[in-house]
């Protein structure tokens, strides 16, 4: 897929949580958004942060082609992402997109698909769920968080498919972790997973136990995002490969976990 460098204008910055913000952007020039696949990511140039030198990779949360809008769910991690969260409607961002491979869309429309997201890991699942639904699948979501107040974009997810919830404090859904959620007792063909590394590794383990296929989206530190710097490598059965080009999505049987 051709990569583009586009100046976006922020239409809206929804501060949906103490440390999460939903940025809704459109190309400044009015040009149509390029085609993007669920699981792909973008690289954002951060201005005005003394301590931020490189772009910041952010996964694609949703693409609203009807309104030509790109959704990015940003988690406050350091100065760079804080800067993004502080931006206001009308501010512009220079973005390289789309990057990476994206999730696999199965051929068998009957496949039972579970989209598992932890914390900001739900970001790619919203767009993935939408695309799967449009392709005739009936995706179900499994989302985990510390507490009910940490569950993001719940309404949007519900509008796409059934949502199974695990919260550590039991304030919503089942008490516990995504890996302890009863939905995993049902029969599942393919689990898509994004979240903190420990969570993804735990889900991968469960997937093997229940003989489900599993794709995970990795978040390795990267510089260029286009396969030039070779910094973001993951050790796979093929050796070290760039997460930014051969990933961020990997089938767990490709990984050395």
């Amino acid at each position: 897929m051709k990569k583009h460098i586009i100046d976006f204008v922020i239409n809206e910055n929804r501060h949906i949580h103490a440390i999460y913000s939903l940025l809704i952007l459109s190309p400044k020039s009015g040009e149509k958004l390029p085609k993007m696949k669920p699981g792909q990511f973008v690289q954002i140039a951060i201005d005005g942060s003394k301590t931020t030198f490189l772009r910041r990779p952010i996964s694609i949360n949703f693409v609203d082609y009807a309104n030509n809008q790109l959704w990015l769910l940003v988690r406050k991690a350091g100065d760079g992402t804080s800067r993004l969260i502080d931006m206001k409607a009308g501010d512009t961002l220079n973005i390289i997109l789309p990057l990476g491979n994206g999730f696999t869309i199965p051929n068998n429309k009957e496949a039972k698909l579970l989209l598992a997201g932890g914390g900001v890991g739900i970001a790619p699942m919203l767009y993935l769920g939408q695309v799967l639904k449009e392709n005739g699948f009936a995706p179900q979501f499994l989302i985990g968080a510390r507490s009910a107040s940490d569950l993001l974009e719940l309404e949007q997810l519900k509008s796409i498919g059934e949502v199974h919830i695990s919260t550590e404090d039991g304030s919503m859904g089942e008490k516990g972790l995504v890996t302890t959620n009863s939905v995993l007792k049902n029969d599942v063909d393919l689990i898509y997973c994004c979240g903190p590394a420990p969570m993804m590794k735990a889900v991968a383990k469960v997937a093997k136990e229940i003989n489900a296929d599993c794709e995970v989206s990795l978040e390795n530190m990267m510089a260029c995002g286009v396969g030039a710097c070779l910094c973001c490598v993951e050790n796979t059965v093929k050796g070290n490969v760039c997460v930014c080009t051969e990933g961020p999505v990997f089938n767990i049987n490709q990984l050395t976990w």
Binding site: F53, R55, V226, C229, V233, G239
Partner: protein, 301 residues
């Protein structure tokens, strides 16, 4: 119309803008963003005799106005380059320079012998200054005898333009530069990365799997400009300047310090189109200053 043509030994460049090895892949990675034919040339990833997996992740950490990397020369080896990559890129209307690395003199020579017959490869850049490989690499580059030894051997194996990339992690870089010039190098390029380190104080662990890594980016530019200035005064062969060039102004700064051509490295990660912007700036700058030929400003300081 301003003349931007410069020559590095027998290597003619349509303009002084090259890309630094390891920051521009094989050019293809940037073809969505720029017209590669507009560059003076690009220097492809460090190539070794055998396939190298490089160092374990994590390999990179951001630092103030820069970054540390510890890639460790990951590449598929010279044969793969010749069979798989060279055929794909050889028709670009721009010079392709191969960066050559090795752990032993024999390695360097073997790679050069394989590259010499390739029509489109008119120059190599010999990396005697990689801080991220255990044996060889920087070891050769931090003393004049080692640098001379590699240069002498490679000179015999590669008849076309030979560029030697120097390490800044030395007391007197001019001594190394003179040594490689004496052994027949056509040019020296500098600086490679400064050896650096960063620690995650919360985890109380180094950020890099290798503990130390190579510092690049705008942060190192003042050191790079100083070394280019020193070396350009010390040798009679053309100098290629690099180290923290982020824009056209920076590129001109290196040329004023004595560089005949420049390499853009880390900046490619932040703006994949920066190289062509620098070419445009060079035209604009020369016109603004009434300079007909960019060669006029080389070493004006």
């Amino acid at each position: 119309m301003v003349n931007l043509n410069v020559n590095i030994g027998k290597l003619a460049l349509k303009n002084p803008v090259l890309t630094a090895s390891g920051t521009f892949g094989y050019g293809e990675e940037f073809s969505d963003f720029i017209d590669l034919n507009r560059l003076g040339g690009f220097i492809v990833k460090g190539t070794t005799i055998n396939h190298r997996e490089g160092n374990p992740y994590p390999r990179m950490v951001e630092t103030p106005s820069g970054m540390l990397n510890a890639v460790g020369l990951q590449n598929k080896g010279v044969d793969y380059f010749i069979d798989q990559i060279y055929p794909r890129i050889k028709d670009v209307d721009s010079q392709i320079v191969v960066n050559v690395s090795g752990a032993s003199i024999d390695d360097y020579v073997a790679v050069c012998e394989k590259l010499a017959p390739l029509d489109k490869i008119n120059a190599i850049e010999v990396n005697i200054s990689c801080p991220n490989v255990k044996q060889g690499g920087m070891a050769f580059g931090t003393n004049a005898a080692g640098a001379a030894q590699v240069t002498k051997a490679v000179r015999e194996a590669f008849p076309k333009t030979l560029i030697v990339k120097l390490s800044p992690n030395v007391t007197d870089i001019t001594e190394i530069a003179r040594a490689v010039e004496a052994e027949g190098a056509d040019s020296v390029s500098l600086i490679n990365t400064l050896l650096g380190m960063a620690i995650d104080v919360e985890r109380r662990k180094p950020y890099l799997s290798t503990i130390t890594g190579g510092l690049s980016g705008a942060a190192v530019r003042p050191v790079a400009v100083r070394m280019v200035w020193q070396v350009a005064k010390a040798v009679n062969i053309p100098v290629i300047g690099l180290g923290g060039i982020m824009n056209g102004r920076d590129a001109i700064e290196f040329m004023l310090a004595g560089a005949t051509a420049i390499e853009v490295g880390t900046a490619n990660f932040i703006d994949p189109t920066v190289t062509v912007k620098i070419v445009d700036y060079m035209n604009e700058y020369c016109e603004r200053h009434g300079i007909k030929d960019i060669n006029e400003i080389i070493g004006q300081i």
